[in-house]
């Protein structure tokens, strides 16, 4: 799970793994690891989710945490335009550090879509770059399952 600070990485993991959501914000320190079995085609695989502490830049992103990753979910907060920039930086950083690996962009907080700062045009641009984009809401659960299963499929395709 990569992305800026407070975009909802931990909430997405909680919603996905334990099907719960809480409004309370708890910042992740370092990394938290969860596991979720997921069916891809005929095979069942285990997703080991490293929920990594978010930051507004990539300066503090530890390459050791992403080394060995099979893929990642790049999380953006739809209500904060700046998180999109962070996502770009993060993507570039990962590319540089460990090469091109599958990822899915999750634009979170879909339940607050009226307040979104990220415009449909910007989203179109992302799709145009060949990125897989998924609207998600950890609060309502919308798109969460799809985001993770798409990522799992992409990893397995590779």
């Amino acid at each position: 799970m990569l992305g800026a600070y407070a975009v909802g990485k931990t909430s997405l993991v909680q919603r996905y793994v334990q099907s719960i959501y809480t409004d309370k914000y708890l910042t992740t320190v370092g990394v938290k690891i969860d596991k979720k079995p997921v069916q891809v085609g005929d095979t069942e695989v285990n997703l080991l989710l490293w929920d990594i502490q978010g930051d507004d830049g990539v300066e503090k992103l530890r390459s050791s945490y992403i080394r060995g990753a099979s893929g990642y979910l790049l999380v953006i907060d739809g209500t904060r335009a700046a998180t999109l920039d962070t996502a770009h930086d993060v993507q570039a950083f990962v590319d540089k550090e460990i090469g091109l690996i599958p990822f899915v962009v999750a634009i979170n907080k879909a339940d607050l879509i009226e307040e979104w700062q990220i415009t449909p045009v910007q989203i179109e641009e992302l799709i145009a770059r060949g990125w897989l984009v998924q609207h998600t809401s950890a609060k309502s659960g919308q798109g969460v399952e799809q985001a993770f299963s798409t990522l799992a499929e992409r990893i397995m395709e590779k």
Binding site: G30, N46, L48, S64, Y65
Partner: protein, 608 residues
């Protein structure tokens, strides 16, 4: 190395040359033998005609041979790289040579290799020494820690008993540990390759634990070591409560062992060897790992062995001591039973002896025999009927009355106490009589009825142990009363006026008392077999003449007699005595004394 390869290459190409030259030289002698001798120029020409092309080839070959070392040198590094990538043939082939070379090098000049190894040997030695010291400190700490406690004392005793050193005993007790889980983690991805747990150990999701451990490892490395991986300082111990996690890093995989208790440092060696073996056996799988752990199923026995060996070695030695065997339980029960029965037996014995002692010392009881049977006690003896009830002692001693079979024959005890008791019992003296006994003499003293006195005289003679009976000090009840009235009467004084037979005022009541007293004596007398007469004595003071006084005293007595006779009748048996001044009641020192002496008194004479 390159020398040998180069020479090898020359050896391969070399055979071509001799074969071609043999052909030539084989033809040459034939020609020389058959033809006439040619000039040198012609011979050269002929030779160039005959073997010109071969000569050229030969020259080319010679040139190629001379060029070969540089050509091989060009391809050799690539060839070696290629070979190492494809298989281990080259490495296998070169291994003996390398070993030999090293050996030769050391023989020739050890300094070269020593210099080369110096940067490695330094840290390696330091590490080995540090680890050895670490172990020593660990055991020293344990020794110190346990040397003062109660347990330490116990272990000291054990050390003295078994002849082992104290440190050894401490180690034996403290190094109880169990390797509960072993994780084999892929270093690059942090994914779990294989996981084994000791039986009965509750485990968390191993995949997540593995991930977490990798994250911690990464975190520590990033935080404290910087990014240079060559420094290779890795986290190798985690402590979580009673659990210790030992992490053994390898180039491709990490082995993490969860240990409960204190494991000895040499256990690391076991982990290290296991990890090495896994690296050797599965180097390809480790290198190409992409998330499929199926290949690593085969390392399970490896990991399990590591788990079990450690688990058994420490635990087996400790277990038998802790386990309670049925034999111990039976032994303890038997011991308890013996103790309880012993206690009960001793208590019963003490009660019995107390009872027997009591019987022996109790007056009025003569114990003839006292025996203990299997379940009952038998007591036989003599008992004075007045002695204490022996059955009471059974209860007092705490014995079961049903268990004591007693046979008591009655007898008369002749001790002073019992003779007296028997006398009390037989004579039933009234409360006013006191009995005492000494040396066969029974003494009675006090006031009793005439009948009791008479009866006791007869009974006392029949009492066992009584040879003499004294009752002189027992006064008949009636006579006692008689004596009292007599005393009262004799103390009474009827007083008269000076030189007159007229009473002093207020004497009437005295006279009435006198009458009543005499009347009582008359009533009582016959009952107590007392006969008596009453003398009325007249007195005067010393004034006046003797004759006059004598007459006056007679007159005064006569007055009283007349009065008494008037009340009591002539049978009163009264006589008169004129004492005059001869028997004054008081010595006359004052007028009061004189007044007192003008009086009449009474005396009672008991005649029988």
């Amino acid at each position: 190395m390159s020398d040998r390869t180069a020479s090898g290459a020359t050896a391969e190409t070399a055979p071509e040359k001799p074969t071609s030259t043999t052909k030539e030289t084989a033809g040459k002698p034939a020609a020389t033998n058959g033809a006439p001798v040619l000039s040198a120029g012609a011979f050269d020409e002929l030779r160039s005609l005959l073997v010109g092309p071969e000569q050229q080839t030969l020259t080319d070959l010679q040139q190629r041979v001379s060029e070969l070392p540089s050509a091989v040198a060009d391809v050799l590094p690539q060839a070696v790289k290629h070979s190492a990538r494809e298989n281990s043939n080259l490495s296998d082939a070169m291994l003996p040579l390398t070993e030999e070379n090293i050996e030769n090098s050391v023989k020739r000049n050890p300094r070269i290799l020593a210099d080369a190894l110096f940067p490695i040997i330094g840290p390696a030695t330091r590490k080995a020494i540090a680890e050895a010291l670490g172990q020593m400190v660990q055991s020293l700490n344990q020794t110190l820690e346990h040397s003062i406690s109660v347990q330490g004392l116990k272990w000291r005793i054990e050390a003295a008993r078994t002849g082992k050193s104290f440190a050894e005993v401490v180690m034996l007790h403290t190094l109880l540990y169990r390797v509960e889980q072993v994780f084999l983690i892929h270093r690059e991805t942090g994914l779990l390759l294989q996981h084994v747990a000791a039986p009965g150990v509750i485990t968390q999701d191993a995949d997540m634990v593995s991930g977490m451990m990798t994250a911690i490892q990464d975190f520590v490395q990033d935080s404290f070591q910087g990014r240079e991986e060559n420094q290779a300082g890795t986290l190798n111990t985690l402590k979580v409560g009673e659990l210790t996690v030992w992490i053994e890093p390898g180039p491709k995989a990490v082995l993490a062992a969860v240990i409960r208790g204190n494991a000895p440092e040499d256990l690391r060696l076991v982990f290290h060897q296991t990890l090495e073996k896994i690296h050797t056996d599965l180097s390809r799988e480790l290198k190409k790992f992409e998330g499929d752990t199926a290949h690593f199923e085969s390392v399970r026995p490896e990991l399990e062995t590591c788990l079990q060996v450690q688990y058994d070695a420490a635990k087996d030695a400790a277990k038998p001591k802790k386990r309670i065997k049925p034999l111990h339980v039976i032994g303890a029960v038997l011991l308890l039973a013996v103790l309880v029965f012993g206690f009960l037996w001793i208590r019963e014995y003490r009660r019995w002896s107390n009872y027997v002692t009591r019987l022996q010392t109790e007056p009025g009881l003569v114990l003839i025999s006292a025996e203990r049977g299997w379940t009952k006690y038998y007591v036989r003896g003599l008992r004075d009927p007045l002695a204490a009830e022996p059955q009471k002692f059974v209860v007092d001693a705490g014995l079961d009355p049903d268990k004591v079979v007693a046979a008591w024959e009655p007898y008369h005890a002749l001790s002073a106490e019992f003779v007296l008791r028997r006398a009390q019992h037989a004579l039933q003296p009234p409360d006013t009589v006191h009995l005492s006994y000494q040396d066969g003499v029974l003494d009675a003293a006090g006031i009793a009825s005439k009948e009791w006195i008479a009866e006791s005289r007869i009974l006392a003679r029949a009492l066992p142990g009584v040879t003499t009976y004294h009752d002189e000090n027992v006064v008949e009840t009636g006579r006692q009363q008689f004596a009292l009235i007599r005393q009262t009467l004799e103390k009474m004084v009827v007083r008269f006026q000076d030189n007159s037979t007229q009473f002093v005022s207020g004497q009437e009541s005295e006279i009435n008392k006198l009458v009543a007293g005499i009347q009582q004596l008359h009533d009582l007398g016959p009952k107590v077999t007392r006969e008596f007469r009453i003398q009325i004595i007249g007195h005067t003071d010393t004034t006046g003449t003797e004759n006059v006084n004598l007459q006056l005293s007679r007159d005064r007595a006569e007055v009283i007699r007349a009065l008494l006779e008037a009340k009591l009748g002539s049978a009163a048996n009264l006589e008169v005595l004129a004492a005059g001044t001869s028997a004054p009641l008081r010595t006359e020192l004052s007028d009061q004394d004189r007044e007192f002496n003008r009086s009449v008194t009474i005396k009672v004479f008991v005649t029988y």
